[in-house]
Symmetry: C2
């Protein structure tokens, strides 16, 4: 959002962002109204237009800012040297710590992709691809050094990101496990996934399951 002059501008902008995030999380983009948003912040609806032109721009800005911050934080955290396993461990610890504190943003960045207009969607998809590429580069390095045995690093990238981001769906700060414990357990699982050869238990499965599932549909 464009910052405006004056002392209350940045504070109001932050209040709009926080209230908007909560409304998007509770009701979804299509059902959220700018009237509601203004009321939550305690300003006139017309004042919102000092910060963004319309609801689409608000959503786009929220998601883009999240992705920009995520990239900046990752770039600061990534190891520039060391083994692929060390770099992967660092990536996992970073991704878990960063996302576990932002479950609402993670939810919206996923569930409201459908609400972005095509040009905006293209920008966000490119930023996500770029994030995926940074993990993919670590997996490729591990294949080159022989540390990792992944059959397909692209699938490996998507699998690892899904399992790590999924933590946001169930993690509770007051639950059984601390963030550190979750980081350690997921680091172990991701390293095992990347290192293991993962030969199938049965080469030819007893039943063609794609067809089986279709029949049971």
């Amino acid at each position: 959002m464009a910052r405006i002059a004056g002392s209350s501008g940045p504070r109001t902008e932050e209040a709009i962002r926080r209230a908007g995030l909560q409304l998007l999380y509770t009701h979804g983009y299509a059902a959220m109204s700018l009237r509601q948003l203004a009321a939550e912040v305690g300003i006139q609806q017309g004042s919102l237009y000092n910060y963004f032109r319309n609801k689409q721009e608000f959503l786009f800005d929220l998601i883009r800012t999240h992705m920009q911050d995520l990239h900046a934080a990752l770039d600061a955290a990534l190891l520039r040297e060391g083994s692929a396993a060390e770099r992967l461990q660092r990536f996992v610890e970073f991704h878990v710590a960063y996302h576990i504190e932002r479950p609402q943003q993670v939810f919206i960045c996923y569930s409201e992709l459908r609400s972005l207009e095509p040009d905006n969607l293209e920008v966000i998809v490119a930023m996500r691809r770029d994030y995926e590429r940074k993990l993919g580069a670590i997996l490729d390095l591990g294949r080159e050094t022989g540390e990792f045995q992944l059959a397909d690093t692209r699938m490996g990238t998507l699998a690892i990101l899904a399992m790590l981001s999924g933590i946001c769906n169930w993690y509770r700060p007051d639950g059984r496990l601390s963030t550190d414990a979750v980081q350690a357990i997921f680091t172990g699982m991701v390293l095992a996934l990347a290192r293991g050869e993962g030969e199938a238990a049965v080469q030819a499965p007893p039943a063609p399951l794609t067809r089986l599932a279709a029949r049971l549909r």
Copy 2:
């Protein structure tokens, strides 16, 4: 939904379900109107009440039916004997094949949990827990037989389900990989994750990343 007598009942019910799924996927629960739904199906809005009492009941029924069908299909597919690795392989193949064909249902069952009223949410959460338990039992078996070395089978269950269900977000039937290829690659990764000891590359990470991420926030 309650089936009504007459030849067109089941066909209309199916049409309502299909149109409702599409509307929920496109606009979300809060923004979807029953007027829209009736128009899509080509019936009067009042006729919808032959099938459900209100929008909440429609959403609940849609998600519950999905979970019931999923459980029935899983129970038919699961191996009752064999090694834990064989059973896990069968689980993965089933879960991938079943979900890859229903990306809209998977999206809604996740993104619209927030829209379920408390009593309804409780029913769905119990059904999900039950599904998780079926995978958890395979992982526990593997720990008993020594096939698997997972540090925490509950975390393992959640990690595996997240990585498998995540396939729905990117899989395209006309893409680079067939369903069979995706099943094989993910089976390999899940078995590696379950079998591997996944020792951390570095026992004490160089920087406390939770605090690092918080600082960069």
